[in-house]
């Protein structure tokens, strides 16, 4: 969220990136925001596909789309916070499978379904806590840790059920997971998702904890010295990721009516791809939830449009892969070019996080332009 600071070179509000936008009015800043760009892409794709792809413009398309991406939407919420702190969690899909299997096995053994669901959520807490413990207490890099737990949790999940599946869940539950809200075309799962999305948006964008998340991603050392409890924050985020993954696992199990050890295979990459497409920087410190939500929906919409246009799975993979590469590489490359240009030309006012002592007023001076052209 951009701040409404007085146009001066006062330090930017903690948690926001340095923007050179104090010379631009707010409406322009809003328009040039990455989140808005992703939403715009989503709307553009939707309108374009509605016009060109048969059957795409039906409400049922949205129903199927939301049902398909619901687990990814759920997991993308905590994953966004984890990536903003500069960490990553690759074990989410395996946690989905482990929660799914725990839920199924317990229910199969005669546990009341509600108890089985709570137990599955606890499994998620444990998975997340174990990741968090290794990252914060032992001090290992999260990439290495979660590659390990990706295999570990998946292994346990497959080990518990083998190649069998638990399939006879009560109809009331499976019908809810596949159902719609009342007479509308919106799947019921969107209610818990909306609640969680609001909670996560409040947590990240409107609390001190959320500002701490950005601060850790921008400069962990500085965050530590300014009193942010880095370890505690990261531990909480890993546990949240575990719990939400478990919730997604329960939903997944009920929606497909099948608890299997290979459920949600490869979903971790879909989640991370959507988060990056939504404008979150893999280096941490940048990103916002609204963009991420649009990113997930965008990947889903492109997939369903291409399927309806009779494209093969490979084409869908190629298009979404290219989209990700172009958007991530494209924006950072252009960003890098213009930041270099700024460094060579007129520097910008510095925020509190990076201080170079250069206090020239920031103007896009023609010097910079000329210099670039003469090269």
């Amino acid at each position: 969220m951009t701040s409404l600071l007085h146009p001066s070179d006062a330090p930017a509000q903690q948690g926001t990136r340095t923007y050179r936008d104090h010379q631009r009015p707010l409406w322009q800043r809003a328009l040039l925001n990455r989140d808005v760009a992703v939403w715009a892409a989503l709307v553009a794709v939707y309108l374009y596909a509605s016009a060109t792809v048969p059957f795409f413009d039906r409400p049922i398309t949205i129903t199927y789309l939301l049902l398909d991406v619901a687990p990814i939407l759920l997991i993308a919420l905590p994953m966004t916070l984890v990536i903003i702190t500069g960490e990553i969690d690759l074990s989410v899909a395996s946690t989905v499978a482990l929660a799914s299997v725990s839920f199924g096995v317990l229910y199969d053994k005669g546990t009341p379904i509600l108890v089985a669901a709570v137990a599955a959520l606890l499994v998620g807490v444990l998975c997340g806590a174990f990741n968090g413990f290794l990252v914060t207490v032992v001090g290992l890099p999260s990439l290495a840790v979660t590659i390990g737990t990706l295999a570990l949790y998946r292994g346990v999940a497959v080990g518990l059920l083998g190649t069998t599946a638990v399939t006879d869940f009560p109809d009331a539950w499976t019908d809810w997971a596949r159902g719609r809200i009342g007479e509308s075309d919106i799947p019921s799962i969107m209610i818990p998702f909306a609640v969680l999305a609001i909670l996560f948006i409040l947590l990240l964008h409107f609390t001190a904890f959320g500002r701490g998340v950005y601060a850790i991603g921008l400069n962990e050392g500085a965050a530590r010295f300014s009193g942010i409890r880095v370890e505690r924050t990261k531990l909480i985020l890993f546990v949240l990721t575990g719990v939400v993954s478990a919730l997604a696992g329960i939903y997944y199990t009920l929606r497909y009516g099948s608890a299997r050890g290979d459920n949600a295979n490869g979903m971790e990459l879909q989640v991370i791809a959507a988060v990056l497409l939504g404008g979150v920087s893999i280096f941490g410190g940048r990103g916002a939830l609204p963009g991420v939500i649009a990113g997930v929906l965008l990947i889903g919409a492109i997939g369903s449009a291409l399927r309806l246009a009779d494209q093969t799975a490979d084409v869908i993979n190629i298009v979404t892969g290219l989209l990700l590469v172009v958007s991530v590489v494209g924006s950072s490359a252009l960003g890098w070019v213009s930041s270099r240009r700024r460094r060579r030309g007129a520097p910008e006012p510095q925020s509190s996080t990076t201080k170079t002592g250069n206090t020239l007023p920031d103007t896009d001076s023609p010097v910079g332009e000329r210099e670039r052209e003469s090269r």
């Binding site: 553009a44 049922i60 398309t61 083998g162 190649t163 596949r178 099948s258 246009a309 298009v319 290219l322």
Partner: protein, 349 residues
């Protein structure tokens, strides 16, 4: 005060939006959303379009079944289509079933990745008027109209016993190299093979069953271990395409080549070199092309209302002749095919 630079920065942020629309429009126009017959609407009753939805695309076995399906659909002048996920997962199949439900197709011919998980989506498709025929791998019977089975378990078991008995002169010790310890179909075949051996081949002794988990390296190692453990082993039966190929690879480079017989279920492409170099005398499999061919004709019979999938219904399947629907809506393709050096070059899958 927007200058050239700031405007460019703005453009940078819109890269994903532009890329998304451009990419999509390129794909849609280049590959042409050719099926612009959008008018048909709510599924085809009497519409001879059959869509094949295999477990995954890029799998030689299913490429062959779709080839057979396409040939059949051409024969009765329908519309053939094949769609599918790149990975054999139930959730990805569900997305494709949903898409087909929207587009409306006469019949979906599907090899199920999960007997239950895709059931709900199939039910929705049927409610919209689409016929559902499973082949190769079934769902729960309530979710489909027909299941076209490659061969019944008894036929597969007795064929393999027949081949191994022939290869070892009807006496000696044999072992089984299976997939995983809890693979339902494999265990059923092995049980029936044991019964058949007891009943009709008293001089053949099944000394051990090992599991290679349908993993090439594991199967290879288990084959090596078997031969070290049982020095007087005469033959190995591997009722899985991964297992038989790994075992053949081990045997062909070992001192046992030609001394220890190997048979089971394999594909001609995998086994060609081992049949030609004398490691393997013969092995069996049903023809996936015929399986697809039969599935397409079963779909046609359902679409046209000739059959409903009840026991005793009969329909014509082109060059394969007449078929009768058995109990639970199952149609059996027939005996597995035997492959040996005389006929292996006639097949390509």
């Amino acid at each position: 005060m927007t200058t050239a630079t700031t405007r460019r920065r703005g453009v940078a942020r819109f890269v994903p939006a532009v890329a998304a629309v451009l990419g999509l429009s390129l794909v849609l126009t280049a590959c042409g959303g050719s099926d612009d017959e959008g008018g048909s609407g709510d599924g085809g009753n009497g519409d001879l379009s059959v869509t094949f939805l295999p477990k995954n695309l890029g799998n030689p076995y299913f490429d062959a079944s779709s080839t057979g399906g396409e040939a059949a659909v051409k024969e009765f002048e329908g519309t053939f289509k094949e769609v599918g996920p790149s990975e054999a997962t139930p959730d990805s199949q569900v997305s494709y079933i949903n898409t087909l439900t929207q587009q409306g197709t006469g019949a979906i011919a599907i090899s199920a990745n999960d007997p239950k998980a895709i059931g709900d989506a199939l039910q929705e498709a049927r409610d919209a008027g689409t016929k559902v025929v499973t082949f190769d791998s079934d769902t729960d019977p309530e979710y489909r109209d027909l299941f076209v089975s490659q061969a019944d378990a008894k036929g597969i078991a007795s064929k393999q016993v027949e081949l191994i008995a022939k290869a070892i002169g009807d006496q000696g010790k044999i072992a089984v190299l299976s997939a995983s310890a809890n693979a339902t179909n494999q265990n059923e075949w092995i049980r029936l093979m044991e019964e058949e051996l007891k009943a009709n081949h008293p001089n053949i002794e099944l000394v051990e069953t090992v599991y290679g988990d349908d993993d090439d390296q594991t199967s290879f190692d288990k084959t090596a271990a078997l031969l070290q453990k049982h020095s007087d082993l005469k033959g190995i039966v591997s009722p899985t395409t991964v297992g038989i190929a790994a075992a053949a690879r081990y045997l062909s480079d070992s001192q046992y080549k030609g001394k220890v017989a190997l048979t089971g279920l394999g594909t001609p492409d995998q086994m060609r070199e081992y049949v030609k170099n004398g490691t393997v005398g013969s092995f069996a499999l049903w023809s996936p092309e015929d399986l697809g061919y039969l599935t397409a004709f079963a779909s046609k019979a359902l679409i046209e209302g000739d059959i409903e999938g009840k026991e005793g219904d009969t329909f014509e399947a082109g060059k394969l002749g007449e078929y009768t629907v058995g109990a639970d809506g199952v149609v059996v393709l027939g005996e597995p095919l035997e492959f040996n050096k005389d006929n292996i070059d006639d097949f390509n899958f």
